[in-house]
Amino acid sequence: MGKGNLIALLILALIVFLSPQFTDDNYLLTIGIFTGINALVAVGLTVLMGYAGQISLGQAGFYGIGAYASAILSLYYGLPVFLSMLFAALIASILAVILAIHALRLKGHYLAVATLGFGEIIYIILNEWGQGGPSGFGDIPKLSLFGYTLTSTMEYFYFIWACILIIMIFSINLLNSPTGKALRAMHGSEVASLCCGINITKLKIKVFILSAVYASLAGSLYAHYITFLSPSNFSLFYSVLVLMMVVIGGMSNIWGGIAGAFIITVLPEILRGLKEFDILVYGLILTLCLLFMRKGIMPLIIEQYRKWSSR
């Protein structure tokens, strides 16, 4: 783990630990929780897009599977919430393997369209066969660990961000390992990395599973926090939103996912005061971000920091 990553982890841990000390407003904490849930999906997509060079517009599908599978298993089959989350991740990863095996040959726009189709099919299935149909279902049990049930918003906030810290440590270690280097080589040139003895087929499937499991975990956390699910949260719009987070935050750095999730989640809440003009300003800000910060926010910050420190 590099020095920069270690510092960033410490800063994030400090922010997470301190921010509830200044406020006990449930509204602000809930925004924090949603930022965390979105960040989890965005980090998975960052690994998939920025490091492995594969595009996916089907993250909402995995997110939805995680949420629905975990909710149904714990509500109707009486599994402990922790176990049902694991099973949901297992189901999502099996689907990811099926998708990845077939999508191996596709590149660029074709891959985007194929994953988009997958996400949309999941959405339609949830709409038709999902518990309660389009209007959804409730009474999903709250999260509980070793007999202790998390009830207050504050506890959820800490739990979700602790999950993210663990997952960030895991991801950073993974990306610094030989597997991570192989992923970056695959992004650079598939032929060249094949010649170096990297098994591209296996690697692509693995990275698809990784991003699906992250999305599914985020989905289960969402389901057990809100305790109510309806399919409308898992439509194509969410996939596009996650893509936006990754692009705004910066694809080339894993911290971009968290930065992007923070901006995309918090921005509409700040703009709420503008009443009906909020969507207009929201769109304008995002367009300007893409026009003037092509690489995203995180790489820009790192560049500025390097300039400043070398002076």
Partner: protein, 64 residues
Amino acid sequence: MGGLGRSRGAVTGGFILGILESLTAGYIHSGFKDAVALLIMLFILFIKPAGIFGRAETLRLRKF
């Protein structure tokens, strides 16, 4: 679906897709209309990315 670089392909693809969509809506469930269209698209992409009438060369030459 019909195949890029073939105008006949687009017409045939449209025909097949439209008829299959309506059949699903009639015989199975109208909610699955779009799902079937997407499934066919995925199927074509996985089996023969160039499309039914398309040739692999067109796919390779065409850059988006």
